[in-house]
Symmetry: C2
Amino acid sequence: MSTAKNRHHHGDLKRALIQAGIDLLEEGGLEALTLRKCAARAGVSHAAPAHHFAGLPGLISAIAEEGFAIFSKHMTDAIKAGEQTDRERLRSICRGYLQFGLSHSGLLKVMFGEHGLGIHAPRNKREEADAYLILRSVCAPFVLDGEDPHTVEAQVWSLIHGFTLLYIGGEFGCSTTPIEDSPFEAVMALIDRIGTQTET
Amino acid sequence: MSTAKNRHHHGDLKRALIQAGIDLLEEGGLEALTLRKCAARAGVSHAAPAHHFAGLPGLISAIAEEGFAIFSKHMTDAIKAGEQTDRERLRSICRGYLQFGLSHSGLLKVMFGEHGLGIHAPRNKREEADAYLILRSVCAPFVLDGEDPHTVEAQVWSLIHGFTLLYIGGEFGCSTTPIEDSPFEAVMALIDRIGTQTET
DNA sequence: GATCAAATTTGACACTGTAAAGTTAATCTT
DNA sequence: AAGATTAACTTTACAGTGTCAAATTTGATC
């Protein structure tokens, strides 16, 4: 009696298909992601995936969900690294966001894409590592008195999400050497002003 | 002797194909955009587009280029509306950015997508209406002494681009009634702090 | 009017998603 | 334990897609 859920031929086909899909996605982008190729990589016939996902959109949704899990782990690690002040944690999460985008650009696009469900889709397991809750907790210390928490979240999220996508897309002069670049530092400088009093 | 470049059967097939592509894109998203459907809508055979574009990616690039032209006009109109202060112009361009995204979401995704070429691709005609130059000119008044102009541009662009994509994706509670909503106002409040002195 | 080149069509091929029917293997029932 | 049942997977088939090579049409040129 193994830990795998499926009993027949393949040990855990569903997971194997998701992993094959992620590999194809990161190797050749969304266009290379194909049900038949995933099936071939998993060693099953081309129609097998239909029994585990609702077509290609269904597989993409599952990949996106797995992507959010990886993303959440990435964020959690970025925050846990050493003792940090609230401000440092906010900076760390932004750096982690960009780094995730750089190393998993295909995954990030799928997560927020057409069939990606978005960040608020209910993930069955480990609610405490939910990506949105991480963002929320890191932003919380910078919510001013009487201010809506969503305000800070929207500011931080929009800034780092927009910068990451534009940076990945090469809009800031395609992938200049270090991350510590002027446009990123500009964004971080603005992040640093969030949660401070506006000058009169 | 007409103004059309093409001499044979169709008056201006290239433009007709691009327009058909934009229609398909906004009707059914990127998945509905197909060379054969574009050809059918333009009333030509399925292989005709190959003589005007480098395959589907080529058509998408052309659509993206047309999208940037529409985008630039949208921005220009937003700025020209009435006499505005520099600060009002900055707010207007951000509102225009979001409004364009709301009414042309498919086009916006293609413009910054895989085959979209991005905002810096050389557009042959009307350089003065280039989208990036518009952003640059609106941001210019808020560049502090000795500061890199790219700083302000990166801040403004990242903020409004990220917010627009997240808003379109329904991440802020899918399309709440008016644009003057709390998350958008939060972003605008941060925009209003750009170009002001940081408190000591 | 014959020639020529560009624009478009026709036909074909490989690849894709998808559905229906068939096959295998593990579980259940009695 | 033997047959029935069901889940996992395969096989087969079909419509739609991009793409290529070869006709074919069309407008212009000489």
